[in-house]
Amino acid sequence: MLIPSDPNGPSHVNPLASRQPAVLVLEDGRTFTGQSYGAVGETVGEAVFNTGMTGYQETLTDPSYHRQVVVMTAPHIGNTGFNDEDDESSRIWVAGYVVRDPAVRPSSWRSTGTLEDALTAQDVVGICGIDTRALTRHLRERGSMKVGVFSGAAAARPVAELLSQVTEQPAMVGAALAAEVSTDQTYVVPAQGERRHRVVAMDLGIKGMTPELMAERGIEVHVVPQSATAQEILALEPDGVFMSNGPGDPATATHEIEVLRQVLDARVPFFGICYGNQMLGRALGFGTYKLKYGHRGINQPVMDRATGKVEVTAHNHGFAVDAPIDRESETHYGRVRVSHVCLNDDVVEGLECLDLPAFSVQYHPEAAAGPHDSAYLFDRFVDLMSTSKGESA
């Protein structure tokens, strides 16, 4: 258990004076005044809220949150500190962090430091002490929007100036961000135990747990950059191709969609998660659209329409595929059905090609953070590859 060496522990100091003033400014002019949290300075991004009660470290290090200022609805953040094991990528990606009540003293046997130190070290500007529920309700009613967080000297600038800085940032619609978060170099995650399959995973913002869960199932995962071409991918002779989650507007992903079409043409088994689901949707000819305020949390009910079973799932998506959920669709690649739907709002949560070995889900079977209800999808991918190879599943 982490117990700091100072015999009296960390002082909360003067809770009024220890933090610098900070202000959060929304695109529509609403502001919230609080105190600095993490790095002092300024940041802009898209304001989104996450309703998970656990897993802030996984959330912060999820590349899909690139360019987003994340509002945590859970009021106490940082209770279990920061550790060396739960990162989903090599760094914190959020553009800014908004919490109500940061923990001063973490408590966990795995903790190696405080969350706030990690935020400060990675220069992540945050704000605390604001009415996060009021902010969440605002975003729910008005939709996700541009936001800026300003602390220290920046917070003292005139609000009009801050507001224009907020509105000047580029919008999330039309933003191509996958290249910004993708790996530069191909790397290989070896299979655990006997290697059964080789998968090429295109990193559009991949979380570490995804190759981990594949590796557990005997898959050797070649993680390739977003810029990889179909030729490069197919040259690795994969048993399956995977496209990961990631940030940005799927409508901008012309390269990825072109790659995916060639993979489908080659009838190589395909599995996509999140952004990868949107890639499959667009490759099949469906549109994508921006949700009003997205799905970000680890409590979302999704029905597998083949079995009628409900999974409690982790979500992090601002965009969704526009496909008819009540019938099969005829596409260039044959028949396609919506395999999964979110029961809260009937948003498409999964696609399945009936004439091709390809499927994808909008949510996160790799969890991290979140429930493990959907881990079976990785087994389904394994089965698909086995069947495709002519092995018995």
């Binding site: 909360h12 809220f49 009021p75 109500r100 003293r105 529920r133 009021a134 729910r140 009628g308 979140g370």
Partner: protein, 1100 residues
């Protein structure tokens, strides 16, 4: 999958009387279940012996049996009603046990009515420790490691294997005899040695100790399509070693990373599947090693529980309601989330607030009991609070307990570190109020590490308490209360009273400053989804944040103040009245606004009232709720009369602040509560009262007592449940009492009354509208006056009162109602002695007996009371049909059934430090936790049923031991003779046996406990009782001082679960009951049939 079509009627089994460990949370779950089933068009048959519950209101079921929950009685109900299925997972362990007995007796098969919810196999798997271990193992999880040993060598090697400390549990000994913790080899040799000796099979189980580990609970729901959701995670502030019911608990879990939490979730789901709970809720408890995260599964309950009630209130996800829907075939995705209306129930609630539950204890009622908190639950109630931070929720919860010493304080000088260490040493033993000791220890400057080392409480929680102390220091050091500072303190849950203490001001001044500076709470909503979707249900809590969510409204509102945490003397009965008022006033077009902080109740179900504020019942919190609601729309009134002493105690202060108190005015309440003023009311009305006096000093008390003549009844003023009440026989004990009582209640004087020996006590519940009086019922106590009315059995209609006496009671009641100025309900206690009707007390509020009266007479008097309070007259209500057109509770038809209410006492729960149960003697201080009702054609049968419902019943044959005080010897002869005639074998102590012999009754003389065994090992009575050779004990005390012999007899009888009769009146009743039982005339009758009989009788 839609509803099952093969079920058109369901028998719901309730949980019986309120006892420690099984309280009104099952009224909440059962009420929800009944509602759901009826909404689905299913015929609901309900059995529950507890008349104080809302679920036993006739409108919640098609056939309501307030009958004992025993397999024989339930079989009779099944035979009569022929339900298609039995639902037993919503009535606690009582219902589950009864269901298992029905199964074992083949009743379920014989009548083709299977269990729904959990099946027999699942119940067995969940309940059987060994089999459950197998389940855990198959799920890939761990139980506590244990080894069975037969020799000391085996013990030593096992302990080395498991690591010290180890738990030693001898096999097959009674009540955990011989078990203990061994911290080293020497202790192990001693404890295991004794254990091996004590065990008839020379066998002990050594188990690894998980004391001090972190403790968690998950509430899990499953449907028959195998969809599973985790509704709530709960973390215990108190680590392993304290029963979760006695722990401070927090939702959601706050000190787990996602990886660890998901591991618990995976195990929980695997366990519910492996156990095979078909549908419904269950809870699973875990221990987590804080050093390395190792997880141990402790247990699971395949039914809804106290924790599920808490989880429902904490999340807004109504577990029992949804469990009932699952039981009749729905799946989670088919059921809408009540709060959002748009999203389905197949999701997991997420919280954007913190919930803290704190237990409320009653050790003051059992001064000899060991107050150490252990794995046996001892608390009698709980309060829950919601805040936007842990500190806020914790401080709100502590003040919700309504005890002066329950909240954190900064009185006096800051303790030195040395004093802090002393406090910490005390806090090592978990007790009621330990958290305040810890706060003081931290205040003294001890580090979180040091406190953690001793208590094992997670440093995160301790750090939060340190934070509260730091904020307190800031406030104390500040030159003035500025808005920023006030806001900061309020965000950490400080009350105006605490701030007043810190700032050296009075509470009203702090409040005035705060309000003038605009520092006021906002009200947020419990919405299951952290604001992701709009909430349609106004379930609110206060916090100091920016934005309030209280919606404007047009209809006039009525605020109803609830009764707070359950305690002895103020329990579910008061919740019943509050809920009734809410129903009645909603029907009349008001928006009802409930304020309460008790998570176990129906009143804090968001379905009960138009709006719910889950708030402490302190002046500050109630004023703020009123302020928020007055800003939202018109407020027609505030009801303080129905929630017991808690809201009544606030009445005057609320009125002074300008709140419209409806019903009996605070001034009238004062007339009834203040002894002097009440004496004046009595004198004016010409009503006699026992001689009394009011004393503020020892000398004064002695003078008054001598004037009145001993014995006298003494008590502090302004109490409920007879708290601190005692019968005093001489100067010495009076001196002692005054010294103690003054400490207990510094602001209030001591009341001294003449104690009426051998008087019949009469309880009256009545309605008064300023003109008309409606007597709800006159109840005759079975025990003599002097036993607290809450602990006394009573019968309705009164069995020995004549018409003339009833007339006098009516007249006296009317005079009191007029004199006090009652508008609504009033309860009066009379004592009839030597043909004089003395007024003992009058309470202008709903009483404990209101629900019993409503069920026994078929008239909803608390609904009527709420409408009278808002201006209607008794004549209006008679016209409206809420009250009978003619007559009242004194004019029940002559052939109406007789109803007996019997109290249920918790003595067995409380052990002295020597491990003996505490004395079961009844007295003027109330100690019962609950009640049952017996309803049958005559008194004997009804009494027999009440005993069956309360503790298992009177014997039909066997041995009765009799030992009575000299003054009772004459009265005992006839009933004991009757027992002999019925074939009972009699045993008696010498004196009692002599009297019996002279009257022609033979009784074997047995040795007294104090004389010890005889020269040839002849057993004492206590030995015989422990040896299961006695089936019933009659023991009346010589005086109120529990003498050693009597105590040992009563303690052994209580320990053996045998009927113990401590008054001669009860003996006479018991004999009638035994006669009725043996005659086989007991029959089951539903409340609906009973009400029909009453109606027919009234009409004819």
């Amino acid at each position: 999958m839609p509803k099952r079509s093969d079920i058109s009627s369901v028998l719901v089994i309730g949980s019986g009387p309120i006892v420690i460990g099984q309280a009104c949370e099952f009224d909440y779950s059962g009420t929800q279940a009944c509602r759901v089933l009826r909404e689905e068009g299913i015929r609901v048959i309900l059995v529950n012996s507890n008349p104080a519950t809302i679920m036993t209101d006739p409108e919640f079921a098609d056939a309501t049996y307030v009958e004992p929950i025993t397999p024989e009685v339930v079989e009779a109900i099944i035979a009569k009603e022929r339900p298609d299925a039995v639902l037993a997972t919503l009535g606690g362990q009582t219902a589950l046990n009864c269901a298992m007995q029905l199964y074992e007796r083949g009743v379920l098969e014989r009548y083709d009515c299977p269990l729904i919810g959990a099946n027999v196999e699942a119940i067995q798997l969940g309940e059987d420790r060994e089999r459950f271990k197998g389940v855990v193992e198959r799920c890939g999880a761990e139980s506590a490691r244990s080894l069975i040993c037969h020799t000391m060598d085996e013990c030593l090697s096992a302990a080395n294997d498991l690591g010290y400390p180890v738990v030693v549990r001898p096999s097959f000994t009674m009540g955990g005899l011989g078990s203990g913790f061994a911290h080293d080899e020497e202790e192990l040799r001693r404890i295991a040695g004794a254990g091996l000796f004590a065990s008839p099979t020379t066998e002990v189980l050594l188990e690894e100790s998980i004391l001090g580990w972190k403790e968690y609970e998950l509430e899990v729901m499953r449907d028959h399509a195998d969809n599973v959701v985790v509704v709530c995670s709960i973390e215990n502030f108190d680590p392993m070693g304290v029963h979760t019911g006695d722990s401070i608990t927090v939702a959601p879990a706050l000190t787990l990373t996602d990886r660890e939490y998901q591991r618990l979730r995976d195990i929980g789901i695997a366990v519910i599947r492996e156990v095979g709970v078909d549908t419904g809720g269950c809870n699973i408890q875990f221990a987590v090693n804080p050093e390395d995260g190792r997880i141990i599964v402790i247990e699971m309950n395949p039914r809804v529980s106290r924790s599920s009630a808490l989880a429902s209130k904490a999340t807004g996800f109504p577990i029992a309601k949804i469990a009932a829907k699952m039981a009749i075939g729905y799946t989670l995705d088919e059921v809408p989330n009540d709060i959002t209306k748009e999203t389905p129930a197949s999701f997991e609630p997420t919280l954007d607030y913190i919930v803290v539950k704190v237990p409320r204890f009653a050790f003051e009622k059992f001064p000899l009991a060991d107050s150490t908190l252990t794995t046996t639950m001892k608390s009698v109630g709980e309060a829950m609070a919601i805040g936007r931070s842990f500190t806020e929720a914790l401080q709100k919860a502590l003040r919700s307990l309504e005890r002066s010493d329950s909240a954190f304080h900064w009185r006096g000088a800051t303790p030195t570190q040395e004093e802090g260490r002393e406090l910490l040493a005390q806090a090592q033993r978990p007790t009621d109020g330990r958290i305040v000791l810890l706060q003081q220890a931290l205040r003294s400057g001890l580090s979180v590490e040091e406190v953690h080392e001793v208590t094992k409480i997670d440093p995160w929680f301790l750090d939060q308490i340190a934070l509260i102390n730091e904020v307190a220091e800031l406030v104390a050091a500040a030159p003035s209360l500025d808005p920023q500072l006030l806001r900061l303190a309020k965000r950490h849950g400080f009350s105006d009273a605490q701030l007043a203490q810190l700032a050296g001001m009075s509470e009203p001044v702090v409040r005035g400053v705060r309000q003038a500076l605009g520092v006021r709470p906002v009200y947020k909503t419990v919405d299951t989804c952290a604001a992701e979707f709009a909430a349609q249900t106004p379930y609110h809590y206060s916090t100091y944040d920016e934005e309030t969510e209280v919606a404007p409204r047009e209809r006039p509102a009525v605020l109803i103040l609830g009764s707070g945490p359950n305690r002895i003397g103020q329990g579910v009965e008061f919740d019943y009245s509050c809920v009734h008022a809410s129903f009645a006033l909603r029907d009349k077009g008001f928006d009802t606004v409930m304020v309460n902080c008790n998570p176990e109740t129906v009143s804090t179900d968001y379905d009960t009232s138009s709006r719910l504020y889950f708030e402490p019942l302190t002046l500050e919190d109630v004023l703020e709720v009123y302020h928020a609601e007055a800003a939202a729309g018109p407020v027609a009134g505030v009801v303080v009369q129905l929630g017991g002493q808690t809201p009544l105690g606030l009445a005057q202060a609320l009125k002074d602040e300008g709140l419209p108190i409806v019903g009996t005015s605070p001034e009238a309440i004062h007339l009834a509560e203040d002894r002097g003023a009440f004496g004046h009311v009595l004198a004016t009305a010409g009503l006699p009262a026992p001689k009394y006096g009011t004393a503020t000093s020892v000398d004064e008390a002695l003078e008054i007592a001598r004037g009145i003549g001993y014995p006298v009844l003494v008590r502090p003023s302004y109490v409920l449940g007879g708290r601190g009440m005692q019968i005093v026989y001489n100067d010495d004990s009076l001196r002692e009492y005054v010294a103690k009582a003054t400490l207990a209640s510094p602001d209030h004087p001591i009341l001294i009354d003449r104690f009426l020996d051998d008087a019949i006590e009469i309880d009256v519940d009545a309605l008064y509208d300023g003109e008309d009086l409606y007597i709800g019922a006159i109840m005759e106590h079975i025990e003599e006056a002097g036993i607290h009315s809450g602990d006394s059995a009573c019968v309705l209609p009164p069995v020995t009162l004549g018409r003339a006496e009833v007339g006098r009671v009516r007249e006296s009641t009317r005079k009191l109602a007029e004199g006090i100025g009652v508008r609504g309900l009033m309860n009066v206690q009379f004592a009839l002695a030597q043909d004089i009707l003395y007024v003992l007390e009058a309470n202008p509020r709903a009483s404990r007996t209101v629900p019993f009266v409503a069920k026994a007479t078929g008239v909803q008097i608390s609904k009527a009371a709420s409408r009278i309070m808002l201006g209607e007259s008794i004549a209006d209500l008679r016209r409206d049909g809420l009250l009978p057109a003619e007559g009242d509770g004194t004019t029940l038809p002559p052939d109406a059934a007789t109803c007996v209410k019997e109290a249920v006492l918790p003595f067995k729960r409380f052990l002295t430090q020597e491990g003996e149960v505490v004395d079961s003697l009844l007295g003027p201080e109330m100690r019962s936790t609950g009640e049952v009702m017996g309803l049958d054609t005559d008194f004997g049968s009804a009494f027999a049923k009440s005993q069956l419902g309360a503790y298992g019943g009177l014997p039909n044959d066997g041995t009765v031991f009799v030992s009575v005080a000299n003054r009772h010897k004459r009265a005992m002869i006839f009933p004991v003779k009757r027992l002999a005639d019925l074939g009972f074998r009699l045993m008696a102590t010498e004196g009692t046996a002599d009297v019996l012999r002279r009257n022609g009754v033979r009784a074997e003389v047995v040795r007294k406990h104090s004389t010890g065994r005889g020269p040839d090992g002849e057993p004492t009575v206590v030995d015989l009782i422990y040896d299961n050779q006695v089936d019933m004990v009659v023991n009346t005390p010589e005086s109120q001082e529990a003498r050693a012999d009597g105590y040992a007899i009563r303690a052994s009888t209580t320990a053996m679960d045998k009927p113990i009769i401590t008054t001669v009146q009860e003996l006479a009743a018991a004999v009638q009951g035994i006669e009725a039982q043996r005659a086989g005339t007991l029959r089951v009758m539903s409340l609906q049939e009973h009400a029909e009989q009453l109606r027919a009788g009234r009409a004819s």
